[in-house]
Every structure is written in C-alpha cells, then in structure tokens.
Assembly symmetry: C2
Homo-oligomer: 228 residues x 2
Amino acid sequence: MSKLSREAVIRRALALADAEGVDAVTVRRLAGELDVTPMALYWHFKNKEELLTAVADHLLAGVARPAEFGGPWQTRLRTMVRTLIETMREHPSLPLLFHVAEKERIGSFTRATDIALGLLAEAGFSLEEGYWVSSYLLNGAITLVNGRPDCPGGIRPEEAEERRKQHRLALEALPEQEYPYISAYAETMRAAPDVERYFSFGLDLLMCGVEAMAARIAPASATPNNTA
Amino acid sequence: MSKLSREAVIRRALALADAEGVDAVTVRRLAGELDVTPMALYWHFKNKEELLTAVADHLLAGVARPAEFGGPWQTRLRTMVRTLIETMREHPSLPLLFHVAEKERIGSFTRATDIALGLLAEAGFSLEEGYWVSSYLLNGAITLVNGRPDCPGGIRPEEAEERRKQHRLALEALPEQEYPYISAYAETMRAAPDVERYFSFGLDLLMCGVEAMAARIAPASATPNNTA
DNA sequence: ACCTGAACACCGTTCAAGT
DNA sequence: ACCTGAACACCGTTCAAGT
C-alpha cells in the first residue's frame, strides 16, 4: 500500500497552509505529517515551488470552469472575479501562495485567463490590454483577500483582533495635528470590521476600473444591447 | 572609526536588493558586504524584518512629501500614485520588499496614507472607504511594477527576455481550439514589450476605478468646480 | 518505481563574552 | 555602546544506496 501520491501531498499541503499559514509548509514539516522522509516528496515534485504551484492549480480549478454564465461581459467577468474571491476566502492561505508560485505555470490560471481574455475582447480591449486587465483583476482579488480585516495574511482571527487593536493604538498615538485623517480613521477602528462591506466595496472598486476603461475605449458599445 | 550605522546598513541592503534581488539580502550576506559579523546587524536592528521595513521606509519618503501639489483631488491623487510608481521603477526590488515588510510600521507609508485619506475624503469617501482605496492604490501600484514586462519581479533584463520567450513558446504550444485568445495573445508577444504603454495603461486603470466609485458615491461633486 | 540515509550549503537568531 | 565567537534550530536540495 503506497500511501504517498501527488494528490495526497497536495491535500496535506493545503490543509497545513490553511491551518498554520503558508510559511508552515516546509518540505520537512510536510513530510513529517505524511509519515515519510523529506526526500520522498522529491520523487513526486521537482522542487518546493512546483509543489506549491500544484496546490494553487488545484484551488483555481473552480474559477477556470465558471458555472452560471450568460449576460453581458460585465456581469460574466464580475462573476469570475467574485468566484475567485470566494475561493480564496475559503482558503486564506491562497493569496500568499500566489506570491511564491509562478502564475504562468498554473494550468487552471491559463484556462481562466483565456476565458477572461474573450470577455475583455468583447469589451473592446486589445489582447495585450486584456492580458493587463486580467492580471490587474487577479492581483487585485489576491490583495483584497490578503488584506481582509478579520484575518489579514491568513492569520488566526484571535491574533488578527489583537493586531488590529495594537494597530489602532499605534495610530491613536500619532500627533493629531500632523495626522488628522489617520487619527479620525483610528476612531472608526474601535468598531468591529464589516467584512462583507469590505469585500463588496473592493469588488466594485476593481470592476469599476475595468468598466470605466472599457467605456473610454469603446463608448459606443459600453452598454451591450445598443449595437443594432 | 565606527564604520557601521543604521544608514549605512540600509544603503547597502538597498544596493544589494536592486543588484541581485531582495532574496539576496540575507543577514549573513549583508554583513559580509559590510565587512562585519552577522550579529553586528542585530545591534542596529531588532531583526531582519525591521531592517527591511527600514529600507522600505527610506524609499517611500519621497512619496510622503509630494512636490507639485494643486488642482482637484483626482490630479493630486494621480500625482501621488505616479510618484509611487516612478520610485518603484527606479528600485525594482521595492515591490517584493513590501510583501515581507509590515506596511503599518512604515512611517512614511503612514504619512502618505494621511495625505491620501484627505484627498479621498474630498472625493466623498468615508474614512474607512478611503483607507480601503489607499490600500487598493498602493497594492495596485506594487503589482503593476512587479509585473512590468521588461523585468518582472526585479530580475535582470536578459533573464526577463529569456523568460518572456519561454513563456511565449509555452503559450504557443497550447491547443488553439481550447485556448483561442491565449494563442492569439502569444502572437503579440513576439514584439518587444512597450513598457511606457504598460505603465500608462495601468495607472489609468487604477485611477479609473477610484474616480468611477467617487462619481457613484457623490455624483454632484464628481467634477470639482460645480459646488456653487 | 518509489523511498531512505547521510551529507552539503545554507538560513535567522540567541547568548555570553570581549573591548 | 558596539561588536565578536560559538552554538542552536532550522531550511531546501543532491546523490548514492536500498527495496
């Protein structure tokens, strides 16, 4: 009974990353959890980067095959971005994982990019511009989830609350004359963060940029149903 | 003659990061370049993170005190973001540096945020929304510079060109029926990348999002000179 | 084909000791 | 105040060897 397989390693790595952060995923630690020698992993993966890339690929699979499609490009693109954000919200380690994995080598990322490029071509962007916009949306979604106020960087909620308090105290200690807006902002940090508002505002912000640029480039077809 | 000082360490660390990437900045390597024992650095810095945060702080100083100010909030905010982008373009290591440094602890970042919050309050955003927008702009600028086609991630131009070619070949190898847009995009990669267009498009994209959201929130004061 | 053991060349950091 | 020496507890990875 060969216990080890690519699949098993990926699942364990993801569980470990979600539980203790992506920094906890070391070759030795992961091997220990799988009751195996560190070097055993090198038979299944060329190196650590390929391992983490495989984890990212596994997670992005859901984004690459979007379910409910239809309607103008704006809503379809928005659905993709929302799906991406929701996937990452379920796996808080994913944002940091993207920083170490090479995005070009993630198969499901390539798949998702092709779909997005199609939608953006419909919006009037050139292929190159579409690629830039795709990357803007992907990275925007990543940093949005990574900066979520309840568990930034995928840390544990208790630690996040403590950090938030320390951050507030640090901001409140600043001279109010020199930092008038920061001081006022620190006041608003006394309340618990509204995570849903944070995400809906962030999604709107991201999509607003794309739609405004599309309207600038192709004003005539900005709304999808006026071509004839 | 005490050769070592906080300033000297920061300068060396920045030079090393720019020359060989931020990964090359290890405590031991940096100490070696300064002709000193690794532990000597621990007298001037609590740990490595504080060291890198100091480097980031040093670099962001120029953004925190913007020069040519005036005009409506849109152009002033755009100037800040452009300055930030230009600063990072001069130091390609900076984007990755932000990922390891804790942004909240960077003094010049706090200063820049206060200025931005003021401009965004003028635009009609609440303090909390303003903070989200600031973070959106900072991270957007970081990923924009980090993804520049001529030296993504701050790698050397020759290596970037080789990687770009490999990336193109990988995309061209994909089945054209399944990846129609990616395949067409790969064709455009044969030409040398237009870096200036990349950056101006990216800046427009970032600012478009903010301006469109501002117009949605406070349509009456979307243009600055119609309040009376 | 799949895994182990030992070793290599690194890390960041602590702590007592020097001057 | 400022720096050194030795040591600790880790890393990722290679390479020959086992089954």
